[in-house]
């Protein structure tokens, strides 16, 4: 099997498992909407105030929900020795990485789209006009977050202290993603031109490229360790 077909097989497998169980998605969307409620309880319901801090809130919600989702992405591989299967599968381990990354990004994007709708409903904000740009920013940010998340998720899978160590390892290096994505989300909500936030776009794309490539190269070592 070629590289692309192997990667696609992993994506397809993960999405099929998710489609049949719907465990992950239900939990993630529910958790993310719950966070929106908690933010409203913590900050009050004044739409102007919520709107002002919305980019930050959204990305905190994405990161926290993403931590849960990534934790699950490899937990399913622990059952029935699925991980052994992935390790033994012929072909480039980078393709397995890309597949896991693709599946995670798809699920997180679905969760993020649902959250944009929930924000529109519960916070009384009109996001329709900004939605295409918001989704693009969500995609770029999620790829960066999941690029390192997939790598570290595979590393911490077997550890007893996984729940604590995984966020500790993952969150500090993805600070640039958070900074760039929040700024770009703000620009998308304000309808500011891309040119005004050009450096942030390059930074985010650069981060994505660097760490997807790093993950592709490093995943083999991690899986076989």
């Amino acid at each position: 099997m070629g590289f692309a077909r192997t990667a696609w097989a992993v994506v397809w497998k993960d999405l099929l498992v998710e489609w049949r169980s719907k465990e992950g998605m239900n939990a993630l969307v529910f958790f993310a909407v719950l966070l929106l409620f908690l933010f409203a309880f913590a900050l009050g319901t004044d739409p102007a105030r919520l709107r002002a801090v919305l980019p930050g809130l959204l990305w905190i919600a994405f990161l926290l929900t993403g931590l849960l989702g990534l934790g699950r992405a490899f937990l399913v591989e622990r059952e029935n020795d699925c991980l052994e299967g992935l390790v033994l599968a012929p072909g480039d381990k980078g393709a397995v990485y890309l597949g896991k990354l693709g599946a995670t990004v798809s699920l997180m994007l679905a969760m993020e789209a649902a959250l944009f709708l929930a924000v529109g409903v519960f916070y009384n904000l009109d996001l329709w006009t900004a939605l295409p740009r918001l989704l693009l920013v969500a995609f770029l940010g999620t790829v960066g977050f999941a690029a390192l998340g997939t790598l570290f998720g595979a590393m911490t899978l077997q550890l007893r202290t996984r729940e604590v160590l995984f966020p500790l390892l993952l969150l500090p290096p993805v600070v640039p993603v958070l900074l760039a994505a929040v700024r770009l989300t703000e620009a998308a909500l304000d309808g500011a031109p891309w040119g005004a936030v050009g450096p942030w776009v390059s930074l985010l794309v650069g981060f994505d490229v660097i760490f997807v490539v790093a993950g592709l190269l490093a995943f083999e070592f991690v899986l076989e360790a």
């Binding site: 390192l148 790598l151 570290f152 590393m155 911490t156 550890l159 007893r160 202290t161 160590l165 500790l168 390892l169 500090p172 290096p173 600070v175 640039p176 900074l179 760039a180 700024r183 450096p199 942030w200 930074l203 650069g206 981060f207 660097i210 760490f211 790093a214 490093a218 070592f221 991690v222 360790a225």
Partner: protein, 219 residues
Amino acid sequence: MGRLLGGVTLLALVVGLGAAVGWAPRDAVQGNVQRIMYLHVPAILTAYAAIGVAFVASLAYLRGRDPRWDRLAHASVEVGVLFTAITLVSGSLWGRPTWGTWWTWDARITTTALLFIIYLGYLLLRSVVEDPERAATYAAVVAIVGALDVPIIHFSVEWWRTLHQPATLLRPQAPTMAAPMVATLLLNLAATLCLYAFLVRRRMRLAALEAEARARRWR
């Protein structure tokens, strides 16, 4: 060799700190507080060197799986984290009388703090992975990711601050330093680098002995 290095380190530290306290002139603007710089700047430069060494050693380890490279990376990160902690604490102590605050979200300070946390995570990961080879591989990946990330963090934090609220720092224009100040700074940098090399050597030897002890227990 080890003793010689130890002796040189001790001498350099004593002379360097002596010069920092006694010989370098008092700063005209900041007074004696400025002398913290003679510890602060060498400490962060040494920490950066340590991170760089850990990066290269981790790449070398993944290439050839020679445990000596892993021990070098591990020791280097450990000592680097120590020097980063010294930088953060000494900077904070200096910032209080000079800037009037223990902490400020300046680009370099924030980057240093994140660097500290990332490599603390490296040490934490090592301590919980039981299989030594697996720990070495995972740690190497974290060290490489961390080193690639530090420049990106620096840029992002800098833009975050400048795009957000420009120039809040009351940093006086750096006056050109007097020659004795430069000399003291360089002397202390040499001292901290010697200390780094000395500690790393010691730490690597300890790790090698630990590995040997483990191997014997299993035999």
